[in-house]
């Protein structure tokens, strides 16, 4: 691809613990991910997928090597720079982590509240529109408690995508869902990502959804194993 990559990792190492308990989690990760790609990261548990994802999301400090995300070097980045990067990335977690006290629309609006240039009306319109897009147009004012697991995860996707991020990081977004809702959720992600031209990096164990990927990266023992196209 001719475009500049959105994520560039070079000689990325990460360890947990100290002294004799020191345990490498990631070693020598070299990776480039380009705009508009849907990349699936697979591998057994403990292979370092989630750690890699949280490093890319600016949720963890980079220890060694270089990791450039959306033109921002995360190695030795300040706390403020990390917060900046986070606000430009959409996150979808295994647990939906919606705020119980807010309606679907308000939950989606939470990530728009960070954008000071948007008026309240714009924010509401955009969150309503994206909820329609994920097929929840009839559940806009429902609280998470009144939504099914699949619906909650769709709200979480709407929250991740509403601010039109350049990149979405998703950690097992289908793990808590039955196969039908899991499939729906992934297809919605795929469709919205294509519309907005955003990159998706998806960690999953779920073999049923591998076909949406442009590229599948396999991880084992903290190293990238296969790099199938």
């Amino acid at each position: 691809m001719s475009q500049m990559p959105v994520i560039t990792a070079k000689k990325l190492n990460h360890t947990f613990g100290k002294g004799t308990l020191r345990k490498p989690v990631l070693s020598d990760i070299d990776l480039e991910i380009y705009p508009g790609e849907i990349v699936i990261l697979t591998g057994p548990s403990g292979s370092g997928k989630t750690t890699l994802l949280s490093l890319m999301g600016g949720l963890r400090s980079v220890q060694e090597g270089s990791l450039k995300v959306l033109d921002q070097e995360l190695c030795e980045a300040s706390k403020k720079q990390l917060v900046q990067v986070r606000s430009r990335i959409g996150y979808i977690f295994q647990a939906h982590n919606l705020l119980e006290c807010l309606t679907a629309q308000q939950n989606v609006g939470m990530s728009l509240r960070l954008h000071k240039d948007l008026s309240l009306v714009e924010r509401i319109n955009r969150s309503v529109a994206i909820l329609h897009a994920v097929g929840l147009g009839h559940r806009i004012n429902y609280y998470p408690d009144d939504l099914s697991g699949g619906q909650k995860q769709r709200v979480a996707i709407a929250r991740a995508l509403v601010s039109q991020p350049k990149m979405v990081l998703a950690d097992e977004p289908t793990a808590a869902l039955d196969s039908k809702s899991g499939r729906d959720v992934v297809e919605i992600m795929q469709q919205l990502a294509k519309e907005q031209g955003c990159t998706i990096l998806l960690v999953t164990h779920d073999n049923r959804i591998l076909d949406v990927a442009d590229r599948i990266i396999h991880m084992e023992d903290g190293r990238l194993a296969t790099n199938a196209a």
């Binding site: 994802l53 949720l59 917060v83 996150y91 705020l99 006290c101 939470m110």
Partner: protein, 394 residues
């Protein structure tokens, strides 16, 4: 109402309420328990502050109702009626230029027989020359001719119940005889001054009747000299003149100093300290309650707060949410606490006949204390928020 809550703001609030309010109002029971707790702490503080205020308002009530510009007291006297000095000194003081008059006032504690139960109680005698009205209460000024009569006193209708139902009996037209220091006396009229926790009640009598109660030796020793200056006189010059003229054991006070002396003495008494202690206790109880509410809130929503951090909320913004919650709790909790306290003041006032009034400055003080209490709790609770690690949510 429109000006208080412009439509735009109301609809904005309904569309996108502050997160702090959403968190609090989502769990109604917890909110109500929290508010009840804060109200309780408020009532505790209000009661203590109210008692203290009632006590301090009460103790200088006589001083505030005395007419006069300067006051002569015994130098070692800690409060009115504590020490005496020779009446002869008053005649000497009268000689100073600029002084219009010098009047003696007797103020002493004595025994009183409850006319109904015949039980003994304490009463404070205010005695002065009825030819010269030294108190500015119209009820007393209008009944000076009554106290001229032998063994007749005026009774403070706001005296505590332990002195007997004197005003009720008097109003039914009964003649009330009692004994003051063992001498038979009659109640010739009523006036209204007010008692405090330290003073059960007051009677007013003439200096002649006072002499009959305490004897000649007692009447030669006065508790207070009240000086009225001629208009346009510089009080400082008179004070200097008095200090030069009078013996070392007599002190000259202006009105403020005179009131401050009395208040200062009673404030140092154990009840004042106890009430202060009670206020601090209420404050601490409030901190603990608000802390509990906020801590459980943070703890229950830790993954949600971590998610907010992950989607780009800065730590400061989240801290802001907790502090907002604290302030909302404080303001909402204060209102019922205040309302209950007003009711309790009324109830206690009726039960004890010690008037406890909800004063604006006291209410403001407690309100500020409440906000402070909530902010301290928030400051304690946000430490838990630091443990919301966004890396944990993946």
């Amino acid at each position: 109402m429109y000006f208080l809550f412009p439509k735009k703001l109301v609809s904005r609030f309904a569309q996108e309420p502050p997160l702090a309010w959403s968190q609090l109002s989502h769990q109604k029971v917890r909110l109500i328990v929290g508010l009840a707790g804060i109200s309780f702490a408020n009532i505790l503080i209000f009661m203590q502050v109210g008692f203290r205020a009632a006590m301090f308002d009460g103790v200088s009530r006589i001083q505030e109702h005395l007419q006069g510009d300067l006051f002569l007291v015994n130098k070692t006297g800690q409060f009115l009626g504590n020490k005496t000095f020779s009446k002869a000194q008053l005649y000497r003081a009268n000689a100073i230029a600029g002084i219009a008059s010098v009047d003696p006032l007797y103020y002493s504690r004595s025994s009183w027989v409850n006319p109904k139960t015949k039980e003994l109680a304490d009463v404070n005698i205010i005695a002065f020359n009825p030819a010269r009205s030294v108190m500015d209460l119209p009820e007393i000024q209008g009944q000076l001719s009554t106290i001229v009569q032998q063994d007749t006193v005026l009774f403070d209708s706001k005296s505590l119940a332990s002195l007997g139902p004197v005003s009720e009996l008097f109003n039914t037209g009964e003649s009330i005889n009692t004994a003051v220091s063992g001498r038979k006396m009659w109640v010739g009229g009523l006036y209204s001054l007010g008692s405090s926790l330290f003073k059960q009640g007051h009677i007013v009598m003439s200096d002649t009747n006072y002499l009959r109660v305490v004897g000649q030796a007692g009447a030669d020793e006065v508790h207070l000299g009240i000086i009225t200056l001629e208009p346009g006189t510089n009080p400082d010059a008179v004070i200097q003149g008095l200090q030069r003229l009078l013996p070392q054991d007599i002190k000259v006070l202006n009105r403020q100093e005179f009131i401050a002396l009395e208040q200062g003495y009673w404030a140092k008494q154990p009840p004042g300290i106890i009430f202060n202690f009670g206020t601090v206790m209420g404050f601490i109880v409030g901190i603990v309650i608000v802390y509990q509410v906020l801590y459980t809130d943070v703890n229950d929503h830790l993954p949600e707060y971590a998610t907010l951090k992950a989607i780009g909320y800065a730590d400061l913004q989240l801290l802001g949410i907790i502090f907002q919650e604290a302030l909302i709790l404080g303001v909402l909790g204060f209102l019922p606490g205040f309302a209950c306290s007003v009711g309790m003041y009324g109830l206690l006032g009726n039960l004890t006949r010690v008037a406890i009034v909800m004063r604006f400055d006291v209410a403001l003080q407690v309100f500020i204390l409440t906000l402070l209490m909530c902010l301290i709790s928030a400051a304690l609770a946000v430490r838990k928020l630091q443990s919301a690690d966004p890396a944990d949510v993946f």
